[in-house]
Symmetry: C2
Subunit: 463 residues, 2 copies
């Protein structure tokens, strides 16, 4: 536990409103959406400024306590879990949008701003913040950057990395770095900004960010297609991409659809049954585009790579179709899914899906498997549902055993064992499936440089 | 000079065709387009494989010689200059495109492939490699990545960084790293790939890269507009961007136009004189887009932010208009320009241009100043022409003195003293105008990690 003197010093930095040690707060701030770790932080600090963040980190270096940086805690790999008496440093009181510039189309904000607020703010300026995913309503931009959040529009707009024009970071040794100052072009040496993006709070705490906003897309139109096989899914992607800049290309299995239809009372997109579904989105901003989409659809039917389909005729319909995909994660969460977040190159997806499906069918014969994901960028979410009668611990143990085989398969295709969920605690011991010993050694050396006393997020990402 | 025994060992690695020590080769491979440094390498090694690159770097670590990695040597900051008896390692014999995958829309190639070849290869697949700039015909992809090359399409497609899906690198201590394996999504720890991008050959030698290709743009259409003032240029940008995704927004001054018209025999875009010109490009892929461009033009005329203009009606006309901008650098090169490559945020460009212009008018009263650049991303090229009667040395000395004031002004706006030309030798001693002491200290620590014996590109970027 924390030395009481240290608590007094922390209180001195953040004040009454900035320090919590009550049981409910410790429980709440000590966990993220991963849920399998028991929270046990010593205290929760809620700084109001970069200076306070800096003072806390400097104090941690002097006093020897550990820090878990905390955003919206929507992570799925335990990156924000505090289970070892750490001080959680929550950025939630640093939630101001500080600046917007219409000529730069850029926004500068504190790290605690909620992702959806940034999307909303951009929309109010007739602009667009393109990073979007299920947790956008509660995740914070600092966490998005620290995990290089991806989501459903990556195929068109890239990951969070692509939007970050500038970063303010306090390193593990308490220095303040202001990186890149919102510039588009800056060829003055190593771009440290990109080292902090995706570093999961292990090198520094992000306190501010400048983000690039872009032109708002026009008349986004959604198609949902029934597809007969994995391989056909990829042919559909290729066919549509030839003439359209897709803004999304998602997929889900008939089983996934079954759950959202049954549990959420949604209508099926069409009556024809299909083992897999693709959800495509594009900017329908000219007659030519709609024509190209319809032609690709007709071609798909003719080639038997599409079984049936529907295209949204209004924004309301587009939203309704999106719900078929977006509600999957929430819907199946009550069935205690064991989640895997894998990626391979797009060209390997069909082969990979088939191989994993076979492996899972053999090893999880008794379990239900739900597939969905951002297939247009090679990212697959594999969810194994816990049988109602099985103990949680038994279930997870069983899943973990199969995991290694799934990861070995991923490795054989040079894929990623964590496409967008990060490493945190959950994937830490599997890191070598996606990174070489030399890379991991360099990562350790970086950690030692920026956080020599191992103050920040100890045990996360690297053991 | 190189120990003769070491030369024998080098010869053993690269063979007869891979080693040159003749005077012409030493002169040729020892310099880049910067021209102000006297080349003096010891030898030129031309490896044929990653294994040979690795063997050379390992030998350098053992034998103690220094290496200058060498691409197309089109750099303008002396990054590829070998003036201290180094061994130049040229990648020009590693020029194979190794793989193309139509589903991934990605290409894997050796680092010595010429940029224009990649553009050409992409075009043959009906795809597009969007990084383009004056030196595309001789620069190599390895050098592009090592300097994070920018150019004329950054406003729409980003810098080289954005296209790099994977990298193979040999570090300064001779390890082989294979980074990211061509994946779109990979959240497994620190992304070392981004550290090597823009590191100017000081951390490792890039031997292979996987690049993302994209949909080829459709019917690119060019407008050249006459504009009455700096401030109006930025208003024009804002007006056009509101309804169009511009693929380029360039500018040049009347003086720049004067030179290309006079020396290259090009026609003026229109008779109306203007102090500044904007060149805009967009995908004219529907009647609505052309209408939006014409409406913005009309609005510009009505608001007096546009004086006159012309829009290409064919690809031939589009190319002809581009030549007005593209030939500036080559045209003025005979007047021995002193080049500056500066960037600020787009919103600061008007203020910055005005301030630099005033400074230059005061301090370079006798000199002619040529402005042009990629103004849509905040990047300005400031060129001071040498008076015919002045000695080169006197001229450069005078320019360097004014430099510091230009850089101080850049710093005051948190801009970059090298937007896309890199640091190399030329900007090395000015790095602190754009990077903080803490950042520079971390950069030195990175250098020590990846290249502990300071074998790679010594004296470049960091002193």
């Amino acid at each position: 536990m924390l030395n009481p003197e240290v608590l007094v010093q922390l209180h001195h930095i953040v004040g009454d409103q900035g320090l919590r040690t009550d049981v409910l707060s410790l429980q709440t701030y000590g966990r993220d959406w991963t849920k399998i770790y028991e929270p046990a932080p010593s205290a929760i600090a809620l700084p109001k400024s970069t200076e306070q963040v800096q003072a806390i980190i400097q104090l941690a270096n002097q006093a020897g306590f550990k820090i878990v940086p905390s955003g919206g805690r929507t992570g799925l790999s335990g990156g924000a879990v505090a289970a070892q008496g750490e001080v959680v440093v929550s950025l939630e009181r640093m939630r101001h949008i500080l600046d917007f510039n219409v000529q730069d189309r850029s926004l500068t904000c504190e790290a605690g701003v909620i992702t959806a607020q940034i999307q909303q703010f951009a929309a109010e300026q007739n602009l667009f913040y393109p990073v979007d995913f299920a947790a956008a309503g509660s995740s914070q931009i600092g966490g998005n950057i620290a995990t290089n959040a991806g989501g459903i529009k990556v195929i068109r707009y890239g990951l969070t990395r692509q939007q970050v024009l500038g970063l303010e970071v306090v390193t593990g040794q308490g220095e303040l770095l202001k990186l890149n100052h919102g510039l588009v072009k800056n060829a003055t040496g190593y771009d440290l900004r990109h080292l902090f993006i995706g570093s999961e709070g292990t090198l520094g705490i992000i306190t501010q960010a400048s983000l690039q906003l872009i032109r708002a897309p026009d008349n986004l139109t959604v198609l949902v297609l029934g597809v007969p096989a994995f391989a056909a899914l990829m042919q559909v992607l290729l066919r549509f991409q030839a003439n359209l800049d897709l803004t999304a290309f998602e997929f889900f299995s008939a089983e996934a659809l079954h759950y959202v239809v049954q549990d959420q009372g949604l209508a099926k997109p069409f009556a024809t049954p299909a083992p897999y579904y693709a959800l495509l989105e594009f900017e329908n901003d000219s007659a030519g585009r709609e024509q190209a989409a319809l032609q690709a659809f007709q071609d798909g039917l003719a080639q038997n790579i599409v079984l049936d389909g529907v295209m949204s005729q209004s924004q309301t319909q587009a939203k309704a179709l999106w719900r078929l995909r977006e509600l999957i994660s929430e819907t199946i969460s009550v069935y205690t899914p064991y989640k895997n977040d894998l990626s391979v190159r797009v060209s390997q997806v069909a082969e990979f899906l088939q191989a994993v499906d076979q492996l899972v069918a053999e090893r999880y014969a008794a379990f239900e498997v739900i597939w969905y994901g951002h297939i247009g960028d090679g990212n697959l979410h594999l969810n194994i549902l816990k049988p109602a009668t099985m103990e949680k611990a038994d279930f997870f143990e069983h899943c973990a055993a199969v995991n290694e085989q799934v990861f070995a398969l991923t490795q054989s295709l040079k894929g990623s064992i964590s496409a967008e969920h990060g490493v945190g605690l959950l994937k830490r011991d599997y890191l070598a499936y996606s990174r070489s010993p030399e890379e991991i050694a360099y990562m350790r050396a970086m950690k030692a440089l920026f956080d020599p006393n191992q103050v920040l997020n100890p045990g996360k990402l690297l053991s």
